[in-house]
Symmetry: C2
Subunit: 334 residues, 2 copies
């Protein structure tokens, strides 16, 4: 069997590869008392004193590397900060492993580093270690690992949904993925669309600092909201019912998705979170989110139920199943 | 200006790129009380309670990916473990960011994962997080970040050499780099040579656990011993005098180096350390090292002096300067 694009696309095909070939071969995947790799959560943890070190990594091969709303540098910081954020952690420091092709213009690297610097300042994190290689790659690749800190036992899992919880999405979906697609050669759409790439740690902390609990949380990146909701439902052994008319989505994304035959539910976001919270807290949490610049379009989109497994969506023509996508429809989206 | 192979080769050309384009653009590079990126040491640190989190990363683009003595999986674990080890830290957990080309044989990935698993068991570390992408690369790339722990203030720096210190190398140099070169197509040398790739944490800890201080330490990877010694000398603002006849090197490496016109002093090692220790401790430390399987060829190779700056080598025809190489002579060596 050979690797296809789908093995890097964040859906069922990739999950199978990770479970069988990666996890299946590893014996040491967990530090005693921490969250291990087998949880396949957004990050894992290492207990230390009365804290846990939260650790995650993302590699970035986005094409093109500069696009409306961001670039590969900004994604490298935000992607990693966001995986730490949805664990409820305070992001602290990142590493920066860069692979460059021969002939790469150093001016472009300079521009990317400036963007990394801006994103780091926005998120309040530092780049404290890195590595640089030159190889046969068609464009720059950046892998950024990240360290965050959370109080012992306070990490937010993706498996923690409770029956009766309410599902909130922090804003309009599908913008990153469609921006990437449209910014490729050959697409001549007139569009104002730009990527939502942003660090969500401030947004998430505004909810946690107000004293609210979040039962489960993810950043809906590759595979989009459809993938994240399914993962939360499956890991929590519960079902989710969402309402199509409540999902925050711009008219433009809706129209472009329809024109291209791409379901925005399956498309990557880079500045969004989806959370499962107690019903009784949900309106107050929504208020906090909508008061934040990154959460102004936040919406309650559904609720958690034990009446079915998986994800169902109420539409004008009745309920339909929202499956885990095989993979994100847009290759090299992040 | 465009990127050349030399920008990824670990010598002066890469150092300039890192200082100017990478470090030069970053404002947040240090966590208060820790060792920051501007130290350009093997890893950086984050204070937490009475400990420091030690954080490092290496990307790996070695070609070929399987070679005598190891493979890209083993290097990915050992490279990161070794950067933590030479900081005096106990390596704890690694991340694994993989980029695969389309068409890559999943059997090969399986073999690499098995090798990663073995190396993790050898080093006593766990893989707790990862990421998988598919992109236009000519072969698999693995970037592994690592977390280690050290007691507050106990991290071993590369800038800590003291006048009168003795320099010890833990074993025969040049084996990794020349193995990689010989295992490439077109080289028809009959050779028993294999890479030294190994996790050195046990070796280093055997010295520290015996209560000895190490004033400065590095793993002589890209750019070899010549690069590491120069970095230690420059950062410590002292000079090093080494003796050619004391440098541990196998006859085979010597012969191959001469045949190919490559100086083994500038070639990458993946299972060695070089340390600067008090003269009075040096014989005892040497004993400890030589008692360990990875240190059996350890040697005292020279000493630290304030009489000159940089690195000088005593040879049969007098002293010569050992410069920082522009870069490792073997591209894609790790
Ligand atoms: N190469 C790998 N080695 C070890 N674990 C991996 C690897 N690839 C993915 N994983 C693990 O699989 C899980 C899912 O990974 P994935 O990359 O989809 O998560 P994510 O970072 O939240 O999403 P995205 O990468 O789209 O931002 C995570 O727990 C991750 O640590
Ligand atoms: N892309 C980068 N971003 C930030 N820091 C970097 C980057 N590349 C290298 N550095 C920093 O520069 C210093 C030297 O890096 P280098 O990779 O040579 O160290 P090393 O890992 O000890 O050597 P090797 O990679 O050969 O094993 C380190 O402090 C490293 O953190
Ligand atoms: Mg995530
Ligand atoms: Mg991620
Ligand atoms: Mg490195
Ligand atoms: Mg090093
Ligand atoms: Mg290294
Ligand atoms: Mg990921």
């Amino acid at each position: 069997m050979n690797i296809t694009r789908m093995h890097g696309a964040g859906g069922t095909v990739m999950q199978k590869l990770i479970k069988e070939t990666i996890l299946g071969n590893l014996e040491n995947t967990k530090i005693e008392g921490g969250i291990g790799l087998e949880s396949l959560d957004d990050a894992s943890t290492i207990p230390i004193g009365d804290k846990e070190i939260v650790f995650t990594v993302d590699g970035h091969t986005v094409h093109p590397i500069f696009f409306p709303g961001g670039d590969i540098g900004r994604i490298s910081v935000c992607g990693t900060v966001n995986d730490l954020s949805v664990m409820g952690a305070k992001p602290v420091a990142l590493s920066l492993s860069i692979v460059l092709p021969e002939g790469f213009d150093i001016e472009k690297l300079d521009k990317i580093m400036k963007s990394i610097n801006e994103a780091c300042k926005e998120a309040g994190v530092a780049i404290i270690t890195g590595d640089t290689k030159v190889s046969n790659v068609d464009d720059i690749i950046i892998s950024s690992a990240g360290i965050g800190i959370v109080d012992s036992g306070k990490a937010v899992r993706d498996c923690g949904m409770k029956e009766g919880d309410v599902i909130i999405v922090s804003g309009n979906i599908g913008e990153h993925g469609l921006t990437i697609l449209l910014s490729r050669e050959g697409f001549e759409f007139e569009s104002e669309l730009k990527s939502d790439v942003a660090p969500v740690n401030g947004l998430v902390q505004s909810v946690l600092n107000a004293g609210f609990e979040i039962n489960a949380m993810k950043d809906p990146t590759r595979g989009g909201l459809a993938d994240s909701l399914n993962e939360m439902a499956e890991k929590s052994d519960l079902g989710i019912l969402i309402h199509e008319d409540k999902i925050p989505i711009s008219d433009e994304v809706q129209a472009i998705g329809e024109a291209l035959g791409i379901d925005p539910l399956t498309v990557a976001n880079e500045g969004k979170v989806v959370m499962s919270v107690k019903e009784k807290d949900s309106e107050k949490i929504l208020e906090i989110l909508t008061a934040h610049p990154l959460g102004k379009n936040a919406k309650i989109i559904g609720n958690v139920t034990s009446e079915h497994k998986g994800v169902l969506m109420e539409t004008i023509v009745g309920k339909r199943i929202v499956d885990t996508p095989m993979g994100d429809p847009i290759p090299r989206v992040c």
